[in-house]
């Protein structure tokens, strides 16, 4: 380890001489540190931001635009009944510890994820799988219990990566995958280092070394970028500083889209909020552009339903609930809810904390008082998400294509609509693209008309990078910092 490190330093010293060569190392800033490095046993986005595609790979993978690309499987066949997928695996792939990759590893990984005692945070991705069988070392057959339109999409998630049984137990601290980079070391609380995997099956990445630095404080992040301690900050935590980076030729500001629909969630168990007039009033009280300007300094796209604007099936429904305080007041009067007081629980991210203050001010305009409580994530999960002990909360739902949450039983906002459930059930078994589009748009309209929650805006991905870096993902279809295509231009 030390020897390797010294060699690395020597190489670094050689290549770091000015104008000799392009830089081949990068320091990437992240707001949150991953708690551990096993994406199959933990939900933290930070785990994926480090490991996705860099260390671990799945059968399929997301491209920068959200399309599904071949991963460890270079091709696949689907049976006519839509129940059996046959994956053809790549040849000559090996894990970082030298273990060869084969169909058995796929069987192991998928079986582990759906087992009784699985601790996979997205276990529902695997719910449709009936059996997984290795036909031969390079062929795997997956049988589903019912056709699933999104199966290949599901297999591209970070939670569905393939691991080796030999190293699975220690992946939390010493991840061993098949990706283009391998794990070097992790200084907890500070940084995590990767180096190029010389035995990578695909095209060798341009970078030789990559360091992720964990900087949670927004002003520290700003300082680190400005001082050149960090080369890129793909999810920069302080949108207010972006204008300055934009004005500085040393930096590129990368503004892209995410899958994060940011909503003002309402608890339908609260008798006042069970009344659609109150919910509609709240929706009219909200001024989306003020929230985007005030909280996100202009970064974000207003939405009128729970759907990503960059998706082809998106419908712009913002006109359904325009900013109209008078209408809001009238609706509240009609519902007999003047003088309503609601508890607004806010998780840590800026969009929630700042957005919450603006929302509170806007609700006050129409006569709704709010009591703001700032919660940490753990408390938010326990109290709001699991305990349903809240009236209002602001949260960004970052999973892709997650409009289905409005059809879930006993989901935290406690919305219960038979119509919505019917739409989603039909969608599940529909594979015709036009029919799917129609269903998805019906779903968008349904929840917008029901004013289930107040839809605020689509979270933007705002990153900052050294102007000489190219190949960073602009958008975030999934949380990831895929470094395989990143290179220094000069």
């Amino acid at each position: 380890m030390l020897g390797r490190l010294k060699m690395g330093l020597a190489i670094l010293a050689l290549v770091a001489s000015p104008a000799l060569a392009q830089r081949t190392d990068i320091s990437v800033g992240m707001v949150l540190e991953p708690p551990n490095l096993d994406p199959t046993s933990g939900a933290a986005a930070a785990i994926r931001e480090v490991t996705y595609s860099n260390i671990f790979e799945g059968l399929t993978r997301f491209g920068p635009d959200g399309s599904i690309l071949p991963g460890l499987a270079h091709a696949w066949d689907l049976s006519d009944d839509g129940l059996t997928y046959t994956f053809h695996l790549r040849e000559g792939v090996q894990f970082h510890d030298g273990a060869p990759f084969s169909a058995e590893d796929v069987v192991f990984s998928l079986d582990r994820a759906r087992a009784e005692d699985s601790t996979n945070a997205q276990k529902q991705l695997f719910a449709a799988i009936e059996t997984v069988t290795a036909i031969d070392p390079l062929t795997v057959q997956v049988t589903l219990s019912q056709p699933q339109g999104a199966f290949l999409f599901n297999m591209a998630w970070g939670d569905a990566v393939i691991m080796s049984p030999a190293s699975v137990a220690s992946n939390a601290t010493n991840p061993v995958g098949t990706g283009a980079f391998r794990f070097v070391r992790w200084v907890q609380g500070d940084r995590l280092e990767l180096e190029r995997n010389p035995y990578y099956w695909g095209e060798a990445p341009a970078l030789e070394r990559a360091t992720f630095r964990f900087i949670s404080d927004p002003s520290a992040a700003f300082a680190a970028m400005m001082a050149g301690d960090v080369d890129a900050f793909p999810n920069f935590p302080a949108p207010e500083s972006l204008a300055q980076f934009q004005a500085d030729p040393r930096f590129n500001v990368i503004v892209g889209s995410t899958e994060g629909e940011t909503i003002l969630s309402m608890n339908h168990q609260n008798p006042a909020l069970a009344d659609i007039r109150v919910r509609q009033a709240i929706s009219h009280a909200i001024n989306r552009q003020d929230i985007i300007d005030g909280a996100m300094f202009g970064y974000g796209t207003p939405i009128g339903s729970h759907f990503a604007p960059h998706h082809p099936d998106y419908l712009d429904l913002t006109a359904n609930s325009p900013h109209d305080p008078d209408a809001a007041r009238a609706l509240l009067a009609e519902a007999g809810q003047e003088g309503l007081t609601l508890r607004l629980m806010l998780p840590p991210p800026t969009y929630a904390r700042r957005g919450g203050e603006i929302v509170a001010a806007q609700l006050r305009e129409v006569g709704i008082a709010t009591e703001i409580t700032n919660l940490e994530w753990a408390q938010w999960l326990e109290q709001v998400f699991r305990g349903h002990d809240f009236d209002l909360t602001i949260i960004s739902h970052t999973e892709p294509m997650d409009i289905g949450i409005y059809a879930r039983d006993n989901y935290y906002f406690q919305y219960d609509s038979a119509d919505m459930k019917a739409i989603m059930a039909e969608l599940e078994v529909t594979s015709d693209p036009d029919a799917r589009t129609a269903l998805l748009q019906a779903a968008q309209r349904h929840i917008a008309d029901d004013f289930v929650v107040a839809f605020l805006f689509q979270l933007a991905k705002t990153g900052v990078a050294n102007a000489d870096i190219e190949g960073l993902w602009e958008n975030a279809p999934v949380p990831a910092n895929d470094l395989t295509g990143v290179r220094w231009a000069r």
Partner: protein, 273 residues
């Protein structure tokens, strides 16, 4: 000796300005402190907004005035709590000096001192949620042993005096003596310590609300104003500088006042000057 009234005056004047601002804010502020005007955000100080506006377009002067109220209220109540709990403990320990109760109280004190204060504050807010009340509790807990120690120290030296003997000979019990003779005579010490703790309380409240554990929005507080301003310091420096100055000047005023008070209340120190 001649400097004492000057520091006292300067300190009282500084503190008075902020106390006055806090009082006035109860009745009137230049602007509604919670009213947002996103269009008018991040204005530098100008004729209309003397201290400029913040990222939500709120008036910074109004926020600083209300923030003074929060800071002072939290610090006063926390110091009061420390006094109410700590002074009787200290008196009790001194009355039983050398005894088991004394030992238990003093060891308990040491133990509280041994806990890292900010960490405990974070734990308290993790249990009860962040709020001004919990900030008060956290600061108050750490004020308690301070006052216990000061009260005990002052009381111990008094317990050796003959008028305490005389009171004992007059059949007075420890508690009665502590209340009648000891407490009034350590009042000076407690007032001086109270001023110091008050200023520390302001700093502690600022630190707690800076990390988001103090008063919750929309109530403005100096610490949170600083935290929010931090990322904007390079293009809206007034947001970071003005609340910071408010903290510095209030604490400075209180410290000067504490020094002045000590000098004028403690004849021993007055002689030493």
């Amino acid at each position: 000796m001649r400097r004492a009234p000057l520091t006292l005056l300067a300190g009282a004047a500084l503190t008075g300005v902020f106390a006055l601002a806090a009082l006035v804010s109860l009745l009137w502020t230049p602007f509604d402190v919670t009213a947002m005007n996103i269009g008018a955000r991040l204005q530098a100080p100008n004729a209309q907004h003397w201290f400029g506006t913040d990222h939500f377009g709120r008036d910074v002067l109004s926020m600083i005035m209300v923030g003074a109220r929060i800071s002072i209220a939290v610090a006063v109540v926390a110091v009061g709590m420390g006094m109410v709990l700590g002074v009787p403990l200290g008196l009790l320990a001194a009355a039983n000096r050398g005894g088991l109760l004394d030992e238990v109280i003093m060891r308990g004190n040491d133990l509280i001192f041994a806990f890292p204060a900010l960490v405990i504050a974070i734990l308290i807010t993790a249990v009860f949620g962040p709020s001004a009340v919990n900030a008060i509790i956290a600061i108050g807990i750490f004020n308690t042993p301070v006052f216990a120690r000061v009260a005990r120290g002052g009381a111990l030296s008094l317990w050796t005096l003959d008028y305490i003997r005389a009171a004992e000979v007059s059949g007075k019990g420890k508690l009665r003596i502590s209340a009648e003779h000891i407490l009034p005579n350590i009042a000076n010490l407690l007032i001086v310590q109270g001023t110091i703790q008050f200023s520390l309380g302001i700093l502690a409240e600022a630190a707690l609300s800076y990390v988001g554990l103090g008063a919750q929005p929309p109530m403005p507080s100096w610490g949170r104003m600083l935290a929010e301003a931090q990322t904007m310091i390079s293009f809206a420096p007034h947001l970071a500088i003005l609340p910071g100055l408010a903290i510095v000047l209030t604490v400075l005023g209180l410290n000067l006042m504490g020094d002045g008070l000590r000098d004028s209340l403690d004849p021993k120190l007055r002689r030493a000057r």
